[in-house]
């Protein structure tokens, strides 16, 4: 049996037995290489399920749809390791109860999809720890290194060029599982800290604010990067921030469902003397 069929059978069983009320997975998209989210409520609906190497979107953000989890019934969801880390972050930030989430884990390498053992997020801790170990290497990127080699002036010009295309559609925000705020800072107009118009200043303000809001939280799933209609390399910014928090605070996002957010927590034994 292919992995897709194995999982299909498992989904049907989960729904038929009433273990979960819904399974969030993938189904065919508008083109052959695209997948769209599939919200499966009955065993029959599972027939459409697809699981292949084109399933790349991190679906965890859908769990936060208004009211979905409020009845405390379990929901199952297809997740790659980055998505599993998102569950930890969302749980750590009190947006969901990880007990309620049943993970159908998978990974894909070289067009090959493999199943991941485990259902509850804690069961993936060893896996995430090994990802953290590889992170210093994995976060490296030739373009990033090239940008780091630039003078501040050149770097500014590079990003000014990239951001100049931003049309403030906020697709990046909508696609990001961590951008769950009820009111995003850009929607705050008393005062209007972030300019809404898409000129240099406004675009810088927006993209830099979002980078800060995701530092120590971004799992590098690439949802924002893929959503951007004008192909701004958003992933680079977030990867850079991930490198920074890893180097400075040994913080790797989504390690556990009790991990403290790096920018809100402080340790008494911090080497900085300004921390009491």
């Amino acid at each position: 049996m292919t992995i897709q069929e194995t999982y299909k059978a498992r989904v049907k069983k989960l729904l038929a037995s009433g273990t979960v009320k819904m399974v969030i997975g993938y189904k065919p998209g508008t083109t052959a290489d695209r997948r769209r989210p599939h919200f499966i409520r009955t065993p029959e609906e599972a027939d459409q399920l697809v699981l292949d190497s084109a399933c790349i979107t991190n679906l965890s953000g859908y769990l936060l749809s208004e009211g979905l989890l409020s009845d405390e019934k379990a929901v199952a969801i297809f997740l790659k390791p980055d998505g599993i880390r998102s569950i930890n972050i969302l749980a750590a930030e009190a947006q969901l109860n990880s007990e309620q989430i049943l993970i159908l884990g998978f990974d894909s390498n070289d067009n090959q999809v493999t199943a991941l053992e485990g259902e509850k997020v804690e069961e993936f801790t060893t896996l995430i720890e090994s990802i953290k170990e590889q992170a210093p290497e994995a976060l490296k990127n030739p373009l990033l290194e090239q940008i780091e080699g630039m003078t501040p002036k050149e770097r500014f010009a590079f990003w000014q060029g990239e951001f100049s295309r931003c049309i403030k559609c906020y697709a990046c925000r909508q696609a990001c599982p961590m951008c769950y705020c009820r009111r995003c800072i850009v929607d705050c107009n008393q005062p209007q800290w972030v300019n809404t118009s898409s000129h240099t200043l406004g675009n810088f303000e927006w993209n830099i604010v979002r980078a800060f809001h995701l530092s120590g939280r971004c799992v590098g799933c690439g949802n924002c990067d893929r959503a951007c209609p004008v192909n701004i390399p958003l992933r680079l910014i977030n990867a850079k921030m991930a490198q920074e928090v890893l180097g400075a605070f040994d913080h790797f996002s989504g390690m556990s469902h009790t991990q403290e957010p790096v920018l809100a927590s402080f340790k008494k034994d911090d080497s900085e003397t300004f921390i009491l």
Partner: protein, 656 residues
């Protein structure tokens, strides 16, 4: 319509030398909303303040900007003046054109332009200020004094004698601290215990003082006037109520060879012990680490020897919770471990001792009953070398600072020695003699002139044993000659250092400390007894090296601060506190974690039927200190700080 009055101060010439105040006043007068714009030599002086009040009344001003020095200097002064003229004090802001402008610039035109920017930005802020009302918080009139050395005892007695309740917490089995270990004290040579013991007893018996010995503060929550403190009462294994302090148990304990901490290792104690004969309370504790029963499960001889059954091996540590209004920290010091100086041989040669060990030898109630005897063979030394600054003023191995007391106590030691051993000879190696203090220089002169002590200006490079002597090689820099002295004993004037756990302890109670671990005062000159945390005061050597007179003075000063705080039922707090927009809060609890004062709680929002709609953050204004940490953290901008609202800050920035 805003009617803002702008008052531009020359600060003598501090501002006017670099900022053209007349021109500045004229420029600001043009700014929209400014009704009055004037300059004057000293607005903080009486006539200056009067002119502001007059302008407020005559022009019905809605806001005031004083362009002057840092708000840390006179914000309170000007806010008070505004209040007296009927304007809400929080409608007054300070534009700092001194520290931020005139003091740091040389070009007059540019400085004047910058001053205009700074002032305009504050005018824009003040237009958006809100009339705030001070927050009243109740004050628990009970003080906690941590540390029962001379400083802690003094602070506790002063507060208690003024009629307020005190809880005095000491972690050792007895009160007293280091002063109880001293022989006689400079500069008057009073017997240390004779002057201290009566105060220890007074503190223990005072009806307003609750004494907790063998106890440690484990946590401090809350804020000025309303601290919640948790204290651990370590198990003594001896019932405090029934024990009469007869000491039968101590004489029967088979473990008698334990090095006594109080005697700095020169004397011995039992496993069940009181640190010294005059201990207060004079009731023993069992030292679990050395007690045979706790080691082998067999013994309990003390229990059988006790006629009133006061010993109980099942005792457990207990925790008590206290409601406290103010805290005095008096946790004292330690002496540096001299083993870092390999060349002096401390720890290697038994007759190289510290100043504190010398105190124990010289003390009438000490292990040698006041006779100066060598630890190695019990013989009276005929030649002693004292080495000053053994740790102090030595950035390489010791500490950079001067311990302040060593010059004095070394002179005292040499003097006491000459009084006790008439044919004895002593030499003191010193760097400088620092004897500033009432009667101090006279004291050191007496040592040199009347007691014949020889002072050698220079350092010691090596101490080595030869037969039964200690050879001391040093240099006399005044003669420019190396010297070698055959001594019977060497005494090191060891540096005063913070308690080893000082930094940890500071974190536990939430006060700041310096690079060494001494606790930081709020302002070295103007607020030397306040810690950086409101309601927590400092006394004695936990703040910096001090002698007894200084420790006691600071303790009394702290007590007076506590009493001032307790003079009212309630305390007025600045209304600069955060609040949360519950509609936009995402309940991520980042702010709950980020708040250093634990002022943010989680609040349930329920519908009419009591069903949970969502959970949001909620700021407790009584706990909030207005630091703004949560505001900067909140991604959705749900939090805002009164007095520094986002609207105000934004206007301020845009005004530049």
């Amino acid at each position: 319509m805003a009617k803002i009055g702008v008052f531009i101060c020359h600060c003598g010439e501090n501002i006017s030398a670099k900022v053209d105040c007349k021109k500045l006043a004229a420029t600001i007068a043009e700014h929209p909303g400014v009704a009055v714009s004037v300059d004057y030599k000293y607005f903080c002086a009486d006539p200056g303040q009067e002119s502001i009040k007059k302008a407020i009344r005559e022009n019905h001003l809605t806001g005031v900007v004083v362009a002057a020095c840092s708000p840390r200097m006179h914000e309170a002064t000007f806010r008070k003046a505004c209040a007296e003229a009927g304007l809400n004090p929080y409608m007054c802001e300070i534009a700092n054109i001194r520290e931020h402008c005139s003091w740091v610039h040389t070009d007059q035109d540019m400085a004047t332009e910058k001053a205009a920017d700074i002032t305009r930005s504050m005018v824009e802020k003040v237009k958006r200020n809100n009339k705030l009302q001070p927050i009243e918080v109740p004050v628990t009139r009970r003080a906690l004094v941590i540390g029962g050395g001379v400083a802690g005892i003094q602070a506790a007695l002063d507060i208690a004698n003024a009629g307020q309740e005190v809880v005095l917490v000491e972690r050792e089995p007895s009160l007293g601290g280091h002063m109880a270990q001293l022989s006689e004290t400079f500069p008057t040579l009073d017997c240390s215990q004779c002057i201290l013991t009566p105060r220890m007893v007074e503190a223990a018996q005072h009806p307003k003082i609750r004494l907790l010995t063998y106890a440690e503060v484990v946590s401090v929550d809350g804020y000025i006037g309303n601290f919640h403190v948790k204290v651990k009462m370590k198990a003594r294994y001896v019932d405090m109520e029934s024990c009469t302090g007869c000491g039968d148990c101590i004489t029967k304990c088979p473990q008698k060879k334990i090095s006594s901490e109080f005697d700095c290792g020169i004397g011995k104690r039992a496993a069940i012990y009181t640190p010294f004969a005059q201990s207060v309370p004079n009731k023993p504790v069992i030292d679990k680490a050395t007690c045979t029963y706790f080691k082998n499960g067999k013994c309990k001889i003390c229990m059988r020897s006790c006629q009133i059954n006061a010993i109980n091996f099942d005792m457990q540590d207990e925790f008590i919770e206290l409601e406290i209004g103010a805290i005095v920290v008096a946790t004292g010091f330690q002496v540096q471990n001299n083993a870092v100086y390999g060349e002096y041989g401390y720890g290697k040669y038994p007759d190289v001792i510290t100043g504190l060990q010398f105190e124990r030898l010289a003390s009438a109630s000490g292990p040698t009953f006041g006779k100066i005897l060598r630890p190695s063979d019990g013989k009276e030394p005929k030649n002693i070398v004292f080495i000053q600054c053994a740790g102090s003023r030595d950035p390489s191995k010791g500490v950079r600072y001067c311990s302040k007391i060593c010059c004095m106590y070394t002179a005292k030691h040499a003097m006491l020695y000459s009084h006790k051993v008439h044919d004895g000879k002593s030499h003191i190696f010193y760097m400088d003699i620092r004897a500033a203090g009432k009667g101090y220089d006279e004291f050191t002169r007496r040592t040199i002139e009347e007691d014949g002590v020889s002072y050698l200006r220079g350092r010691v490079s090596k101490v080595w044993p030869k037969m039964s002597k200690l050879m001391v090689r040093g240099v006399d820099t005044l003669l420019g000659k190396p010297v070698v002295i055959a001594a019977d004993m060497v005494v090191l004037a060891t540096a005063m250092v913070p308690q080893p756990d000082a930094k940890e302890f500071a974190k536990t109670i939430g006060i700041a400390y310096d690079e060494y671990g001494f606790f930081n005062e709020a302002h070295l000159k103007l607020r030397p007894v306040e810690s950086s945390t409101a309601g927590i005061f400092l006394a004695g050597t936990c703040q910096s090296p001090k002698d007894i007179p200084d420790s006691v003075s600071q303790a009394s000063a702290s007590a007076s601060k506590v009493l001032a705080l307790f003079s009212k039922q309630t305390l007025e707090r600045e209304p600069v506190v955060a609040s949360n927009n519950e509609a936009t809060c995402a309940g991520c609890w980042g702010c709950v974690l980020a708040c250093p004062y634990n002022a943010i709680e989680k609040k349930d929002i329920l519908d009419r039927s009591g069903k949970l709609i969502k959970r949001v953050a909620s700021v407790n204004p009584g706990l909030c200190q207005g630091c703004g940490t949560c505001v900067t953290f909140c991604r959705s901008n749900s939090l805002d700080l009164a007095g520094f609202t986002e609207k105000q800050i934004f206007a301020e920035v845009m005004g530049l």
